[in-house]
Amino acid sequence: MTSVVLSAFLLALREIRRNLMRSFLTVLGIVIGVAAVVTMVTLGNGATRAVSEQISSLGSNLLMVRPGQRLGPGRDSAGAPAFRKADAELLRSQIGGLKEVVPVAGSAVTVVAGNNNWSTTVSGTSNGYLPAGNWQIASGRAFLDDEERAGKAVCIIGATVRRELFGTRNPLGDEIRVKSFACQVVGLLVAKGQGAMGMDQDDTLLMPLATVQRRLTGNQDVSSLMISLHDGADTPAIMARIRSLLRERRKLADNEADNFNVMDTKQIAETLSGTIRTMTGLLGAVAAVSLLVGGIGIMNIMLVSVTERTREIGIRLAIGALEHEVLLQFLIEAVVLSASGGLIGIVLALLACIGLSAVLSMSFLFDPSINLLAFAFSAAIGVIFGYMPAQRAARLDPIEALRHE
């Protein structure tokens, strides 16, 4: 039996080599299908992981409160009054279950150090920003209490700002110029890498809130409130309480819409990864149709092959081949055909993934299980679509088959 299988395998390879062009065209559907499935799933996994990394880099259970209505088209923040530092203190004192309430005043600036300048965003905030935003200090220190209170000119810089301004040089203690004042670098943040939307999270500069308000924006506005919750907190309930408290404080009548919005960043990231999953699934389904078409192509060519080789089948049957041995021979041929298509598809997919992940600057996540699954699936297609032609071959009448021209 094993020698029959082995010889059928060798014969299948020989037949494929003899009809190389035809075999290639036959398996093209499988190649494209497998390549598409593997590429989609691999890239989808990479994207999903990027998003989940983003979720964890945001810190768990983080709420953002901004003035203006919710994000998206028709967003109206112009007329909405900004928050004050007092809003943050009110929320902290009035609502239980909040870990940190951090006011943030943002401002776009150009910073200069030596001959280098760099455009970035300054966030005026407190030390609470670090745990809430899941930031760590790589070297140096956080703000001191009196620096925060007095609004001293000190800053903590992100990895990108450091690279652009100082290269690999240690920036601690150096001064950078922000607008008209000089500001001492006291700390350096640990790099986080790229965010979910492709933005650079490390392109950031932190200063005490009072410093930004007094020296940069010139007002007491706070552009957003960052609220981190304890693990296991009832996020929707807390969001509702924040909303009613802020409506009250901003003196909104019952028929007026919110002039602020509360956003659960984790939820946004989850929605995003859900969207990626849906897209991956959809494209996977399209690829599955391609595999089906590929399978039909295999069946077609196997039927042709059985007809072409009727005489050969007759000879085999006459000299004593059993039905299942002939069946096995053609089944093996179909499987060798479809599985080699699957292999080519996997190789193409890996090349495509390596190329695309470089272009899309996304992490390339090799997942052996999807590759194995795709290969097994392509072999299974050979079995499923090769069975009918193989059975036709096995059931030939040897006398008729020998007479076949």
Binding site: M1, S3, V4, S7, R14, R18, R311, E312, G314, I315, R316, L317, A318, I319, G320, A321, L322, E323, E325, P398, I399, L402
Partner: protein, 241 residues
Amino acid sequence: MSAADDVPLIRLAGITKTYGEGEVAYQALCGIDLEVNAGEFVAIMGPSGSGKSTAMNILGCLDTPSSGEYLFRGIHVERLGRNQRALLRRHSLGFVFQGFNLLARTSAQENVELPLLYRGEVAPERHAAARRALARVGLNGWETHTPAELSGGQQQRVAIARAIVTQPDVLLADEPTGNLDSKRSHEIMKLLVELNRDQGITILMVTHEPDMADYARRIITFVDGAVASDERRNGKNGASR
């Protein structure tokens, strides 16, 4: 083969074969009774449509009779299923066809090995047996050639080597010289006679050429689906019986 002493190798009793049904039914064989003993060299003759090929297919266990009994070494072949008949062919019969029926693009060696492959013999034994069989038919040195590279006579020798490589009890030859010129035909016939004489292989051969039938020791003539004559005589070149 001690059984051959009391039971004939092949016994046909009242074999009929009918193709089609009702109005269009055509009776190819109408009641054949025949015994063949081990070691015989039998030529089956007869005009086209006399039923000799049908009889050959039944004798070769490729086809089943419509009625009657076919005993091969005491086994009721007409009661065997498709796969059981395949096993009988595999182990006891060898075939030589008019059109050679070798696998194209496959070396002589591999063609001869094919029956051994289905018997499940291991590669070294297959190779050795195939080389021996090819040597027996005078094709040393031609092992790697494909049928397209061989003459008709050589192709038929490969086919004979394939038929005898399993050391069958019976060799069935359906017009083995039908596609060959006279000189090659006689060479093939001499080879068959030698196999019959030296190895005791029973040979059943269909032919329409009296020249070729002369090599056999027994000539059975079919006419209209029945045995018209069955004569025994001295075959050319000393066939065994």
